[in-house]
Symmetry: C2
Subunit: 455 residues, 2 copies
């Protein structure tokens, strides 16, 4: 279990932000520029993410040119494209100089096709080739995630030769913890961890100590599966190969951490009809239309519920207490269903749920729903009976509650699986679909039973 995000944790970042806003208010950019120059690119990116758009653009222009690229690559896609929109081709090329090929590719993919081609053609030839080799793969695959600056060695070399070869480098690529072993055709055959290189007798050959346990990652593997492999096996870097088994790049844990965060965010944001890349400080102009669509979809659900209620107008007209109590049945169904839905959606995201255990899960949810239905249906039955001094209404709400809580559990468990089978994202559509079911069944059972009794 982890702490809820607490006040202290954000203290430092929020303090920087306050100081910065004060400095910006006081007018001169010089003080702000001085403050920014003491911060790391990552901290500056965090400040930009935490700033409203207008301040964001002012800040961006005060950043030291030399670290603009590093700051840019740390930003989320939404914020990146806002900032890119203010640059011309030349500025973009300058900003991206010195970044890793995968990061440049990520940034370029935020741009319109035509502009991307323009920026690419203005790059130096080696840079362009490296970036294009990454761009050849879909952004959401291992190929789109990988970097191309690998260090590879042949299996027949002695460690002594490898050590001398490494010493000829000014420095090794960031996060290098292993060298890759390839054959004459450039095909991946094994891994040589730096730590093993350092603890083994230098006269031994690479082949004798290389590790062949780790299966290399095919370039077309989806990034979410790459993330799962990294999390599962505690990798720091992993080799990426093409269809001919040739080493084409490597993926490092820092890029994977971003995928893990996005994946985890995906369910949370989607359940509220939001995009996981949504900029917290997007303008009204960007926010309002996105929200409007979601509200429209939910209005249809609400109208459907109203249509159900409308069927029972006469009964409500006779017993107005029904109108008072009916939202309880619908809302409890919604709450119970969303618990099941969340557990199932998370289980699916973790790769835990499939045909073989779905039945067990269904019966568990059913069992839990029956117990809770009995408990809370009796409680609400007693409350309603006493409140309106009417045993009939007590029985009606009791039975309706049992029906809706059991329906909610079944819907919460089945809907996400069914939606996935239809290739619809359960996290996005599951909540709306569930509410529709629990509202309709809730109103229908409660008012329908009432019509039978009072009609």
């Amino acid at each position: 279990m982890s702490n809820p995000p607490s006040a202290e944790i954000n203290f430092r970042a929020q303090n920087q932000l306050s100081e910065l806003f004060t400095a910006l208010d006081s007018g001169t950019g010089r003080e702000v520029r001085r403050m920014l120059s003491t911060l790391s690119p990552q901290s500056i990116a965090q400040l930009l993410e935490s700033s409203p758009p207008r301040i964001r653009h002012v800040l961006w222009n005060l950043i030291d040119k030399e670290i603009e690229g590093e700051v840019l690559q740390e930003l989320s896609y939404d914020v990146q494209s806002q900032i890119l929109a203010t640059m011309d081709t030349e500025e973009m090329v300058a900003v991206m100089e010195g970044l890793d090929a995968d990061d440049v590719a990520d940034i370029l993919q935020q741009l319109p096709e035509r502009l991307m081609a323009e920026v690419l053609s203005s790059m130096s030839e080696t840079d362009r080739e490296r970036v294009e080799s990454v761009l050849a793969y879909d952004e959401e695959t291992a190929g789109g995630l990988m970097d191309t600056d690998t260090i590879s060695v042949r299996p027949n070399l002695t460690l002594d030769v490898v050590l001398r070869y490494l010493r000829r480098h000014e420095q090794l690529p960031e996060s290098t913890d292993s060298l890759f072993v390839v054959n004459r055709q450039g095909q991946y055959i094994g891994l040589l961890p730096l730590s093993r290189l350092l603890t083994t007798d230098p006269s031994v050959t690479v082949r004798e100590i290389m590790s062949t346990d780790l299966e290399p990652i095919p370039a077309d593997m989806p990034d979410t599966e790459v993330a799962r492999l990294f999390a599962k096996y505690d990798w720091i870097t992993a080799p990426v190969i093409d269809e001919q088994n040739r080493l084409v790049g490597r993926i490092t844990i820092d890029d994977v951490v971003d995928v893990i965060r996005e994946d985890a965010d995906h369910s949370l944001m989607s359940l509220a009809g939001l995009d996981e890349e949504e900029d917290t400080f997007a303008t009204v102009r960007r926010t309002a239309p996105r929200r409007a669509v979601w509200l429209g979809i939910n209005l249809l659900t609400a109208l459907l519920a109203s249509w159900v209620i409308n069927l029972f107008q006469d009964t409500i007209d006779k017993v107005v207490a029904l109108a008072v109590l009916m939202p309880i049945v619908a809302s409890m169904g919604g709450v119970a269903g969303s618990q099941t839905l969340t557990v199932v959606i998370r289980g699916m995201a973790l790769g835990q749920i499939g045909r073989s255990n779905l039945n067990w899960l269904l019966s568990r949810e059913l069992g839990s729903a029956v117990l809770n239905a009995m408990l809370w249906a009796v409680v609400i039955g007693v409350i309603a009976g006493l409140w309106f001094d009417d045993t009939r209404i007590a029985v009606i709400i009791l039975v309706a509650m049992v029906i809706n809580l059991i329906t909610a559990a079944l819907a919460g468990a089945i809907l996400p699986v069914a939606l996935r089978a239809m290739r619809i994202d359960p996290a996005l559509a599951g909540g709306v679909a569930l509410t529709t079911v629990t509202d309709v069944v809730g109103f229908m059972s409660f008012l329908g039973l009432a019509t039978l009794y009072y009609g």
Copy 2:
């Protein structure tokens, strides 16, 4: 943007699971044992997580004794403690042999105090000391996350000496990418990346090339902040120090990835009143009571809404169409509010939201809410007017909708910040608090206006 969890991604794991279940059904444990012996501890842990409790225990008993410990440490807390509950002290000690101190500490903390002491006292003295040094820190701090197997060197050594010193090791601790530089008092003074060690002339001293940029992590830093630092600066390992600046351990990225996943899960699960460590396949006996509490809390909210409706019984009695339409206003408020709530809760979890930008965020939400309120209030007004052939009801629902959507935006933005200030977890309490507000204001405004018009 990342792919939604798709069928293919889980294909391999789900296939293993089906095969395993079939083998279990066929009766003999031998086939299952053979299958398990081909899998990594991580894959076995995934299978256990994906199995209902009874199968889980059968599987556990078929695992090769030698990897039990590795499997155990990969499991989530909920599942870990279920399995630990079936062991005696001796078995526990045997299982934990060979695990890292931080992993042993994590597992021990699942046990009752008395049992933990028993297991500790049955361990070898060196093992016990290492584990106790981790146990001295709170589980949710850097100290609780760290491992104690660091390799440290003195600053005045030449690299040549360091290389010879390393070669005397059988192997380096897992995920070692840097050595730590300490002074005579054991105080941390810098970092020596292996990659730099490999690319520098061996006659140079450690002091000349060590890196001092990275600020060491105090042992009492909360784990969520540690995770944020790792994600921000792309660290693989980082040194942990005590109050006297002495190096006490190191944190590696694999432990941090778990914290990042839990943190990200926290908001999703809490919004549905669930624990982020919840076992997907918990039994009914464990699930039902946890869910019951949440349903009870939400019943109070629903009853409050009913009480509000009850105030307007006479008006509903006069115009039954009000009963038909009233859920629309409440439910649209709930949907709009939960969008704002989710954006703010995520922004807070990312450390983006504080006093300095809250006002901007509030006005953005307000602006967006006003625009959407105007759009959808008119739409629903027109629909209601045509449906019941009544312009009064059109105006009433239009105005009520505007009021509730604006209230929802304000509540969605202010509630989480207010809850955090009161040290209540916004992810857990935010949803219920929000629904209470949007239900009460929704019914109150719609029925209140109707009473003014028709009364």
